[in-house]
Amino acid sequence: MTTRPRFLPHPILSPLLTGLWLLLTNSVSPGQILLGLLLGWVIPLLTLRFWPEAITIRRPFTLIRYIGLLLYDIIIANFTVARLILGNPDRLKPVFIELPLDLTSSLAIGLLTNSITLTPGTVSARLSEDGRYLLVHALNENDPDNLIATIKDRYERPLREIFEQC
């Protein structure tokens, strides 16, 4: 792991927070920029305990593609779930599946969990104690194995490429 400067523990989080502050205040006046920079510097320092691991983005382009894919899937998910709700609810076949995880970084697991809930017909329900299995509830799925393969290929693999060495 690369060593991080003590005064700036999260070089990625800081500019994000600054950007967030500017969006919140809806202005780009010099005063707000200064305040945003200050907040971006102080907040990571104060919340260091919540972010023990350094965040490294290995492939920024994969990340951008992943976000695009996720947005597309969210829109599809909305139509899928809307159709399922309007159809006959008695014909739905809900299942629980256990998804074995290859991810180890907690941020990547968090993002995967989040993505699963936002995308078609699945809600993540529980992460096993050892962090190696994720329990997922699917609203209507006839082929659980296929679903596992899809999730692993579509979401887990890019996240691994972005956040972890492989």
Binding site: L20, L23, L24, N26, I74, I75, A77, N78, V81, A82, L84, I85, L86, P89, D90, L92, P94, V95, F96, E98, T113, N114, I116, T117, L118, P120, G121, V123, S124, A125, R126, S128, E129, D130, Y133, L135, H137, A138, L139
Partner: protein, 113 residues
């Protein structure tokens, strides 16, 4: 022209939000009901917020980007609360149409599929 676009966005948003809420009524058990509010509403709220951003950007001076933040926060928080609700439901062993997984993941560590 702008009005048509805005009306379209607002109507779409309202329709999806409504369907999401309807899911609470129509779906059969707790876990299934979780799907409605976490998904069908994201697009609903999303298009309402886009409509709001466009409207205020065209009305006031300067563009309005607060809405992007609301969307972002929604995407971050909705799955987290759904996850916790599902976890609590599993803990309480609520009635479920899907076969609930073996009572607990801790007990079954050795011989899981």
């Amino acid at each position: 022209m702008l009005e048509y676009l805005l009306s379209f966005l607002i109507l779409t948003g309202a329709a999806f939000t409504f369907i999401g809420s309807l899911g609470l009524l129509r779906l059969k058990d707790f876990y299934m009901r979780l799907h409605g509010p976490t998904k069908a509403t994201t697009l609903g709220v999303g298009s309402l917020l886009i409509a709001s951003a466009i409207f205020f950007s065209s009305r006031d001076t300067g563009i309005s980007l607060h809405e992007v933040l609301i969307t972002l926060f929604l995407f971050i928080t909705a799955p987290v609360s759904a996850h916790l609700l599902a976890k609590a439901a599993l803990h309480l062993d609520l009635h479920s149409r899907a076969k609930t997984p073996v009572k607990s993941t801790q007990q079954e560590k050795g011989n899981r599929l």
